[in-house]
Amino acid sequence: MENKNGFIPLDSASLIYPATESKYYNSVFRLSVDVKFEVNPVVLQEALEDVIQRVKTFNVKLKRGFFWYYFEKNSNTPVIHNETSWPVMKMNRKKNNDFLFKVFWSKHRIAVEFFHALCDGTGGNIFLMTLVARYLELKDIKVDSSPLILRCSDKEGEWENRDCFRDIIKRDVTNPGKIGGCHHVRKKGGLTEFNQAVSGKVDVDIMLKFARNMKYTINEIFTALLIMSIIEEDNPKKPVMISVPLNMRNIYNQNTLRNFSLFAIVGVDPGMGDYTFEEIIERVHLTTRLQLDRHYLDTIVKRNVAVQLNPFVRCIPIFVKNPFFKGLSELLGEFQYTSTISNMGKIKVPKQLEDVIDRYDFFISSSQTNPVGLAVASIGNTMTVNFASILMDNCNIERRFFSHLVEWGIPVEIKTNRQEGEK
């Protein structure tokens, strides 16, 4: 994992995150499980210490070099924290013993927040499940093996720390076409520094039945519904585009704990006229399919990675490079889309884990440009649809989204951290 100087290079997709990190664009995501038993913090701390010895990919700290950011082995011990009142806040790494992930606990919850430079959702999920499984093992509950669980007795696999982007990059392909500007959610009522979460709990069977009747996937339905809610709320004239992260592991048949995802951008242009929900979802379905084309993905990988492998770019000092990376990230990332919807899909865990996990939550951070983000995950028969927003006193998009689901006959149970008096 380390080279001879003790440096651990960041993977090709994560180089952008430290350069662009700020209070309102913190690139943090959160995975958590609500468990049926009462969490013992002493056992959880012990489990975490065992897991960090095994999952060395996460046992790192971020360092700023002269030319690049890099990881270095972290000799500190990670500690668990009391559950926070606001999810996916910017991480104070100094207070967290320099780790790029933070473990929270409450009476019935084990949660981990990750800085995106460390891993993507799949890698984070493996870490969380390994931690929960280790906790159960320390409580003398044997957990069956699963691809989501790394055994503390096993040796570290070569695949865990692989930079898959470097393996798949094709330098001779062209660059992908330009994508124009789009609408950004209006910041009515201003922004708050504390993430406002609205979580909807949906029955997986009912949702699946609805999706089958519509002949679309659940992800396509949620994407189209988010687009419709934004159009209804903001009445925009520019295109409403949604960024949909794609897990590249299945497409390229590679595996890693580190970042290996790209995003498709799908949406409609309300300037072309009023769209019905059926028209929106059809367009979402077709454009997602088009962007799943492997040749198209090759061009995006080349665009994202080639610039970092360029010897000229490598020689430029980091303080000169950072502003350009920031601009690049906005131009090729944030300015291209209106909001993000990230779907972890159904988390398949061994029976012992499924028996004790009540619900699974996934939150993604938002930003000043795109202040509303949606994350979906399901376990067992429970699906959680979680909005994280930095819009103060304004959750109209969330309200429209969930009201439509209820109109379609899908019961939704709402929980939030918005305080009384806030809307």
């Binding site: 700020s22 209070k23 009391n82 559950e83 926070t84 009142s85 606001w86 999810p87 806040m89 910017k90 104070n92 207070k95 409450s106 009476k107 019935h108 520094e193 504390f194 979460a197 609205v198 979580s199 909807g200 303080f319 000169v320 950072n322 502003p323 920031k326 601009g327 959750c395 969330e398 309200r399 969930f402 009201s403 209820v406 109109e407 019961p411 939704v412 149970e413 709402i414 929980k415 939030t416 951290n417 918005r418 305080q419 009384e420 806030e422 809307k423």
Partner: protein, 289 residues
Amino acid sequence: MPYCVNCGVKLDDGQKKCPLCGVPVVLPEEIEKKPEAEPLFPIPDANAAKEYGKALSKGAKMTVEIVTSLMVIAEICCFFALFPHPSCWISMTSILAGYFLFLSIQMSVKLTYTNIATKIMCFVGLLVFAIDYFINGQISWSFPVISFMVLGWVGGVLPVMVKKIPTLPFIIAVASLFALFPLMDYFLGWTGWSLGVAYPIICFGAVLFFLIIIRTKIKKLIELTLTDIILLSSASVCFTVAFGDLVANGWEGITWSRMLWIIGLCIVVFEILRTSSKKIRNYFTANNS
């Protein structure tokens, strides 16, 4: 489990209104009210927000915008003012290099108010110094400019950094002003304006500031009414102007300003009496019955 009659979503037990639309939850009395369900995240206490640091207030954000905008405007003005000068290439090069540095700083440092303001001021100060030195071969006009920038930093940035003693930065600012003006007067050829004009104005500002601080912060110690502030400010203005005349013309030369000394002293004596005697004070207040 209650439902929102507007959105149709299920709500947590014990929820008083819908978090999405704000419509109150009204349950029929015959339905047994259940205890409140566990919230999604713990309800924040007073210390919860501290961990994430305090955000910039609207006022601070506005100050950052104003400071940054003024710096940029000042640079553009410098550029055009120095353009016809024979050594204009120096100003152009330094300003262009400055812009590049400025952009790098803006985009690479952590965007905190103190960070931005300090780095911008350092950078603009160096730039001003360089332009002055290269063009004139000596330090002339850049000295007062840089001095005022330092004062601006003490008054505008230091209070944000030193939060425990709010009046300390102000005291430092006033003290540095007292030192700065004679120095500037000396550099620009001694005329005595620092003593005759600058000092009295600083004193007037300081008096006004302390009066406001006493009224707003130290209410328990001395209760100052609006009348007190107006009267004491007026006395301060009288002394300021009279002192200017005194420095300009000497004791023998003062004529009209004598009246100002008398008015000022009268006000001060009157205020002392008003503060010390409750009877006198009550006589001048509306509820003196």
